[in-house]
């Protein structure tokens, strides 16, 4: 039996300020990954933060990351949020950067059966100009060049 209802829709568009970490986004555009490092206590933050929660200093230096990382854990998302329905399934990984912080990002260009905890990864910037999309992702680390986010041996 059809139950009586009121139909109601709510769409929300928002703009989220990124002024204080603008250099991070400029870096991605130039193919560089920047983290912040607290000048007072030396802690490194990636994703970057403009303020240090450890010592409350806002004097941060920008440091460029090598991208070298080691895989800790991963999942393959099959059931995605509405806004990602075109992308699933996708692999999300957490890896430890050489510079200290653990980072979450997509892991692309790899077959799930080839993934192993502890494997060497490279965190690489990603820029898709036509979509104005700036991001970063993990690829398998290799000595030969990578292109289009894929490790080409």
């Amino acid at each position: 039996m059809e139950q009586p209802t009121i139909k109601n829709t709510l769409n929300i568009d928002m703009e989220i300020p990124q002024t204080r970490i603008a250099k991070f986004w400029e870096g991605l555009k130039q193919g560089k990954l920047f983290a912040t490092k607290c000048t007072k206590c030396g802690e490194t933050y990636f994703p970057p933060t403009a303020d240090c929660p450890r010592c409350y200093s806002s004097n941060m230096n920008w440091i460029e990351l090598t991208g070298d990382a080691e895989l800790i854990t991963w999942t393959i998302v099959h059931v995605s949020p509405k806004s990602f329905s075109q992308h699933s399934p996708y692999i999300i990984a957490i890896a430890k950067l050489k510079e200290g912080p653990n980072v979450m990002a997509w892991f692309t260009g790899i077959k799930p059966e080839d993934i192993k905890a502890g494997m060497k990864l490279k965190l690489v910037p990603k820029y898709i100009p036509e979509k104005e999309k700036l991001s970063y992702e993990f690829i398998q680390s290799c000595n030969i060049n990578f292109r289009d986010g894929v490790c080409r041996l």
């Binding site: 854990t73 999942t75 999300i92 653990n102 979450m104």
Partner: protein, 386 residues
């Protein structure tokens, strides 16, 4: 002096409730809690509403629920701690009584998730994670977060997909015995392992449900409680803690540090040890969450949660019966209602009113409620004795 007891409980059937609004659903639970305690709305000194929100029409649901239930003009607030909102409401209601500002307080939890389609529900829940650095760029989901935890736990401790499935089998068994549960169907390990992948390694039967539901618990000061009921259930200890939202900022991904810290506080406040707990409601939003809860609450050693379920120690008759109402897994997980509903179940157990699911001689009960992927944790210990 200073003790606080639960003197009334209400708990709607969990499931799809397309016949009622959020106000009408909350009313059902409030009415039951009033009837159970023999009190009237005018006796309630303060009310706390737990609701995650976004799935339903009210951006600011507390006033409309209070109005609908005739609880004006008493003071109130709405609390939100993601999936632990319900326990946050119980704790806030406790503070209001414990402080002496009121004698009687009502904690209400409600969520109506079926008003939106499933992808939208996944979207709204995913936004309890780090929206800036996880959700917007990478489409993280809650099955995804707990899958990251599960992969790490499996790699570190050898926990198996079968052990995860065993948690689902247990919780479905008890859900089938609970008239208030959303699902009344027993499952097998094979069925669980062969169900479709949601976020590898988690499959359909590793994941909790999308649910509508409400629950309410009435708290009273010691003097009032003794006048109201012969079977008060005392709040003996509370603990709460938080952890980073960005999962990468945690030292150990397969431990919920907030659970470790919150339970330590609650154990310390009561002098109760994990081995003294007779029955527990733990936050099993995913099967791996129940396994790590065993460990982080001290029911077994770190890394041995899989073994504990495999040995059947968390069934009635085992070392520590867990989620014998079906848990979030089979009873359902209407976000804001869950912590309040877990409390109602423990009160039933300690009153000896749990019927077929009764844990014999239950004297001490524990409620463990996690918000998001361990960003919040509340632990509350209840006793038949104060």
């Amino acid at each position: 002096m200073g003790k606080v007891a639960v003197v009334g409980i209400g708990h709607t059937k969990f499931g799809k409730r397309s016949d009622v609004t959020i106000r009408e659903l909350a009313f059902e639970a409030i009415k039951e809690a009033l009837e159970d305690s023999g009190l009237t709305p005018s006796d309630v000194g303060f009310a706390v509403v737990a609701n995650y929100g976004g799935f339903s029409e009210d951006m600011c649901p507390a006033p409309y629920i209070l109005e609908y239930a005739g609880l004006n003009p008493k003071g109130a607030m709405r609390v939100e701690a993601a999936c632990a909102s319900g326990s946050a409401a119980v704790h806030a209601a406790y503070w209001s009584v414990r402080s002496g500002l009121t004698d009687i307080a009502l904690a209400i939890g409600v969520e109506k998730m079926f008003q939106v389609d499933t992808p939208t529900a996944v979207e709204l829940l995913g936004r309890a994670g780090d929206v800036l650095w996880e959700f917007i760029p990478f489409g993280t989901t809650f099955p995804g977060y707990y899958a990251l935890i599960a992969t790490d736990h499996m790699n570190k401790y050898g926990t198996t997909e079968e052990q995860l499935a065993m948690v689902a089998v247990k919780n479905h068994k008890y859900g089938a015995m609970n008239p208030l549960a959303q699902l009344h169907r027993e499952i097998t390990v094979e069925e669980a392992i062969n169900s479709r992948v949601i976020a590898w390694p988690l499959k359909l039967y590793d994941c909790c449900l999308i649910s509508d539901g409400a629950a309410a618990v009435m708290l009273a000061s010691e003097d009032k409680a003794k006048k109201i009921t012969d079977t008060p259930v005392w709040i003996r200890g509370l603990g709460s803690a938080t952890d980073t939202g960005y999962l990468g900022r945690r030292k150990d991904i397969s431990t919920l540090q907030a659970t470790v810290l919150a339970s330590k506080q609650a154990y310390k406040m009561t002098g109760i040890e994990p081995k003294d707990v007779d029955v527990a409601e733990v936050h099993d939003c995913f099967t791996i969450a129940e396994i790590i809860a065993y460990e982080d609450l001290g029911f077994c050693k770190k890394g041995e949660g899989g073994k504990l379920i495999e040995e059947g120690q968390t069934y009635i008759g085992g070392k520590i019966p867990v989620n014998v109402d079906g848990g979030l897994k089979s009873k359902g997980h209407p976000i804001g209602a869950s912590g309040v509903a877990m409390t109602a179940e423990i009160v039933k157990q300690l009153r000896g009113e749990a019927g077929k699911r009764q844990v014999p001689k239950a004297e001490v009960g524990l409620v463990h409620n996690v918000g998001a992927a361990g960003q919040f944790c509340y632990v509350t210990i209840y006793g038949r004795e104060g």
